[in-house]
């Protein structure tokens, strides 16, 4: 059976709207701090696991690979794990697996998110989380799906916008004493209600801010934990569950998948009645309603009565019977997705070991639960931690931690520091396959098509070729179904997919529509039109308005929108059809792209490098632990994990003293097209310096070079990235 696993140290940066540090530097600061907190060195760490949410935020493909050195994973067993927004609480679960399996004695668990490089706004990264064929053309983004869920939650459980505004204000106030907090403010429900409506019912202050930050925790087995001075806090239970990606196929009001994950964790922890056995709750709260939505599931109460009673009796406050997000949550501390989840785990550790300072809950705490959520209203991760009767720590730096004690350099604008811009050209042509080709063929003919799963008695829309919930049983019967249905939830949006405002007076109304003739809750997401936004109601009947036949292309936008059916009668015919034949014409692809661009801060090391480069200079950074000068300039040494200051520890390197360590002659450009003129890329080393610099070699026609040839740096005229790092032969 599993080894018991304890958390024995925490590190974190400030949570910032925009950090000067590069992603790896953010992670390194958190890791260094966790090592100090636990009294360990990087050599004591057996393995490293890292959680970070979409690559689209930081703007690096295979972001986990990019973060290895910063996470302390260089030359170690290192693995990244990922469940979208639920990643941060998967992080300690994956760390738990490393140790509970007996594979490793210790594991560094790191969560990093740098959302600020994504322009014009990180929210834009979410346009491509939706199904690319059936949903993306509608230009939905995350705020829309949250708004649809929030409206449904309010409708079913009877919460008002003011109720939820009070939750937002309460959690943000909790953050006033969190040293990492990005936007801790003492606001009232009125402030939330009066903030601009972005996509009804969501207002600006219902939402957590986007953030840059990193958090690290160290997990060890019980044997090691008992030898350390600090009181360990043990992982008592873990659970994680993933729902179907067909998010329109289920009622969004209650997250069953979170409840299932919680049940798994409770079973392992021996929790019988969570409302009785758990002392405080850190559910994921990217939006205020989410804290309650998740708490319903964490208390395993689909009726919602327990949470409603606790809310109405004021018992969700920090001095109440069931404190909700005493950390200050994503709403107050900030929401650097994966790092938020791990911040909540850190809060469990702080509270249960008496290190929460002014946030310390004033009663004996035995057990807390943290939860994260993510993907398409779909993923739940849950961790229960317990104090195991250990006496609270009385002396801890965390008890007195002030914001200025935490690492991290907030900046106002990316233009305040050296920076690099880039826009990847990521284009696709997706194979639709048989079922979706049949579905799109229907749209072209002005029909909505489903397929019938006889095992579960469900008409499925969009048509699918197998039953995802009945053993992948084949589904072969396809039908044209009515294009009428009922609005299950809706939002009136004032923003585009990239968070930019719609023109004044214009709104988009998105709705989930349960189509007639299929099981309730099952339907599709689309726009509403031909209606006064004020008159839209949950439960209203609507009908598809199609483009004219000549303009239809076999696309979800062949339906212009759904309009009120009024008193007209719906035709409820369901007719079986012959699906498309498989041939190269019917199996056409759908074109798509990821439409993002990025502005990266050069980071602390990179700022030094580019500032020097502009002057035709090179500085290394002296690392006392190695007794070596390192290039490029570094904020940390990835081997000893000592922190460095590229300014104070700068050592001048003669830019004319380089020699070619290795090289390649490149014949293709970044797209793979042939270059008119081949380019030579060189790795240049300098005498008595650890590391190297990559750059292009400027050559005259008669120049000859080889490994070892002496080169010197060329002072660039303009600097906009690595292509301006140029050497020439001496």
């Amino acid at each position: 059976m599993s080894n018991r696993v304890a958390v024995i140290g925490v590190g974190m940066t400030k949570f910032m709207r925009r950090a000067k540090e590069a992603p790896g530097e953010l992670a390194a600061q958190a890791v260094r701090m966790a090592l100090e907190d636990a009294g360990l060195s990087i050599d004591d760490i057996d393995a490293v696991t890292l959680g970070t949410a979409p690559d689209a935020f930081d703007g690096v493909h295979m972001k986990g690979e990019h973060l290895i050195a910063g996470a302390g994973g260089a030359n170690k067993p290192y693995m990244r794990h990922f469940i979208g927004g639920a990643t941060g609480v998967m992080s300690p679960i994956h760390g738990w697996m490393h140790v509970a399996s007996g594979k490793y004695n210790s594991c560094m668990v790191v969560a990093e998110e740098k959302m600020s490089p994504c322009t014009p706004h990180p929210a834009g990264a979410f346009i491509t989380i939706f199904d690319r064929v059936t949903e993306q053309p509608l230009e939905l983004t995350l705020i829309h799906i949250f708004a649809l869920e929030m409206a449904r939650f309010m409708h079913v459980y009877g919460y008002s916008e003011r109720d939820l505004a009070e939750i937002s204000a309460m959690i943000k106030r909790n953050a006033l004493n969190h040293p990492a907090a990005q936007i801790a403010v003492d606001i009232t429900a009125d402030d939330v209600l009066n903030s601009p409506v972005l996509s009804s019912p969501v207002k600006r202050l219902d939402i957590s801010p986007t953030s840059d930050a990193a958090v690290a925790i160290i997990m060890v087995n019980e044997r090691i934990a008992r030898t350390l001075k600090k009181a360990p806090v043990f992982i008592e239970g873990v659970g994680f569950r993933l729902e179907t990606a067909y998010w329109c196929a289920r009622d969004l009001c209650y997250p069953d998948y979170v409840a299932m994950a919680a049940r798994d964790a409770y079973k392992m922890a021996g929790v019988v009645d969570p409302a009785r056995d758990i002392d405080f709750f850190e559910p994921y709260d990217p939006f205020d309603y989410k804290a309650l939505h998740h708490l319903n599931a964490l208390l395993l109460d689909k009726s919602g009565r327990t949470v409603k009673d606790l809310f109405e009796s004021g018992n969700l406050h920090r001095d109440g019977s069931h404190p909700l997000c005493p950390s200050g949550g994503a709403l107050g501390v900030g929401n650097p997705i994966a790092a938020t989840g791990l911040m909540k785990i850190a809060e469990l550790y702080f509270q249960l070991s008496g290190q929460a300072g002014k946030r310390q809950l004033q009663r004996r705490l035995r057990r807390g639960v943290a939860q994260a959520w993510g993907d398409l209203m779909q993923a739940g991760t849950v961790v229960v931690m317990g104090s195991d009767g250990a006496s609270p720590v009385t002396k801890s730096r965390w008890n007195d931690m002030k914001p200025e004690d935490l690492p991290g350099t907030p900046i106002k604008s990316v233009d305040d520091v050296p920076n690099i811009s880039d826009a990847p050209d990521l284009r696709y042509a997706w194979d639709n396959g048989f079922a979706i080709s049949t579905y799109l063929d229907g749209l072209k003919k002005g029909k909505i098509r489903g397929s019938f799963d006889s095992r579960t008695n469900r008409m499925m829309v969009p048509a699918r070729p197998f039953s995802e919930i009945a053993d992948l049983a084949p589904v072969t019967n396809y039908f044209n179904i009515p294009d009428t249905g009922v609005v299950k939830t809706f939002t009136i949006s004032h923003v585009n997919w990239d968070s930019s405002p719609l023109p004044k007076g214009k709104v988009n109304i998105f709705a989930v529509i349960a189509l007639d003739g299929i099981v309730e809750d099952m339907g599709l997401v689309h726009k509403l039109g031909d209606i006064d936004p004020k008159k839209v109601k949950i439960g209203m009947r609507v009908k598809a308005v199609w483009k004219s036949e000549s303009k239809r292309t076999g696309d979800i936008l062949d339906i212009k929108y759904f309009a009120p059916l009024g008193r007209k009668k719906a035709k409820l015919n369901i007719e079986q059809i012959k699906p498309v034949e498989v041939d190269v014409l019917s199996m056409s692809q759908k074109l798509g792209k990821i439409p993002l661009s990025y502005r990266y801060t050069a980071g602390v090391g990179g700022s030094k490098f580019y500032t020097d480069l502009a002057n035709g200079e090179i500085n290394g950074t002296y690392c006392a632990e190695r007794d070596e000068v390192m290039i490029p300039p570094a904020m940390f040494d990835e081997e000893s994990f000592t922190m460095l200051d590229p300014e104070k520890d700068a050592r001048t390197i003669n830019p004319g003293s380089g020699y070619i360590r290795s090289f390649t002659v490149v014949c293709e450009d970044r797209q793979g097209d042939l270059l008119d003129k081949k380019k030579v890329l060189v790795q240049v080393e300098f005498p008595d310096v650890a590391g190297s610099i990559f750059g292009l070699l400027q050559l005259k026609d008669d120049d000859v070079f080889e490994e070892g040839s002496a080169v010197k740096l060329v002072k660039p005229k303009k600097i906009d990235g690595p292509d301006k790092v140029v050497f020439k032969l001496k």
Partner: protein
């Protein structure tokens, strides 16, 4: 350790796969894997997928994992690593004693990604390493470093391609089997000299599923399981300026652990066949060096043709090697069959990484 490979399934392994959506392709491979492992969906505790976001074209690829595996509402997560990293994670999960049977999934729809070079370039550090050049530049530079440090010649590198692509002719799932000479490889169109376009794997589409479980589950359900004797993984430095480009530190770290768990002292004597990442031909040689097989004669390496013969399947690539290894241990490798009771499967994540995984598999559980 007591983790076994109960069975596997595949679908695709073609340069394009127009008639199947990724969902349809994965569902087909999953049904094959479950049948092969002798399990029904209700017996499976959860799934681990090996996927990155951009190859799939989704910002959160993890969302689209559970449905086509029949794993809706089960414990599922993604490892953005090679298939073999996900296998390692699933094995750890089983070793906690709380899960008995897990599925590992990965797929490639490389043919749907129209700007692959641009995407791989996007994996480089934007501040120091993201040049306006082919992302193969690092492989070209690595090749030069390797040749000057290791004693291998460019002919040795070309010979890897000649051998692997020839071996793939007999492999039923490999699309790139063919007959080349060493000169063909060296004189092919240059990409990042001395690297030519025949020195790295072409992409292919395909889905791969593995079913892992406890030894008890293997004995109870599986027709012909294989047994993991050891699994390790490791990463070299991600800061390219301070990485030694003539060797694979990630492989050495992974191998050390896998050998230790398996009790292997002299791999060349104890392991019968090696399934090693050859996404770039020089990397096969570099990986064998890091596996401690320096100069060992007569090694059986990539008898089914490796990725050069079978295609680069992005994150699924290591899964193809595992599939080949399983078929060899079972004696079901057809014209590619070699004698093997203990094999090594190695995976590497491609440029710009040095992240690798190593697993040792046996045809029977050995009591150490």
């Amino acid at each position: 350790m007591g983790v076994a490979l109960l069975g596997m399934g595949i679908c695709g392994f073609t340069p394009t796969s127009t008639s199947l959506s990724y969902r349809e392709m994965i569902a087909k491979a999953a049904k094959m894997a479950y049948r092969d492992a002798g399990v029904t969906i209700d017996l499976i505790d959860g799934a681990v997928s090996a996927e990155e976001d951009f190859p799939s074209g989704y910002s959160i690829a993890d969302e689209y994992v559970p449905d086509q595996l029949g794993m809706v509402r089960k414990p599922v997560y993604t490892i953005p690593g090679d298939f073999m990293h996900a296998v390692a994670s699933a094995a750890m999960q089983i070793e906690t004693g709380r899960y008995d049977i897990l599925v590992v999934e990965s797929y490639s729809k490389a043919s749907n990604m129209l700007t692959k070079d641009e995407m791989i370039r996007f994996a480089y550090d934007p501040i120091y390493n993201r040049f306006g050049l082919s992302p193969h530049w690092l492989a070209g530079l690595e090749l030069n470093s390797f040749l000057s440090e290791s004693g291998f010649t460019i002919d040795d590198v070309a010979e890897v391609v000649v051998k692997n692509r020839a071996a793939a002719i007999a492999d039923t799932k490999s699309p790139y089997g063919d007959t080349f000479s060493i000169e063909d490889i060296i004189n092919a169109r240059p990409v990042a000299q001395p690297l030519t376009e025949l020195m790295f794997a072409q992409h292919a589409d395909g889905a791969i599923i593995a079913v892992l479980g406890t030894d008890e589950a293997a004995r109870k359900y599986a027709r012909k399981p294989a047994y993991f004797a050891g699994i390790g993984w490791g990463s070299g430095n991600s800061i390219l300026e301070r990485r030694d480009h003539s060797l694979s530190a990630g492989t050495a770290i992974a191998a050390e652990r896998a050998y230790e768990e398996s009790g292997i002292k002299a791999p060349q004597e104890e392991i019968d066949a090696y399934f090693v990442s050859d996404a770039y031909a020089h990397r096969q040689l570099m990986h064998l060096e890091a596996l401690g097989l320096n100069g060992s004669p007569g090694l059986v390496v990539n008898p089914n043709g490796g990725a050069l013969g079978g295609g680069d399947l992005f994150e699924a690539t290591g899964g193809a090697r595992l599939y080949e290894a399983l078929s060899q241990l079972r004696g079901e490798a057809g014209a590619c069959q070699v004698e093997a009771e203990r094999v090594l499967v190695h995976a590497w994540r491609g440029v710009p990484t040095d992240s690798c995984a190593v697993a040792i598999l046996d045809s029977e559980r050995r009591i150490s």
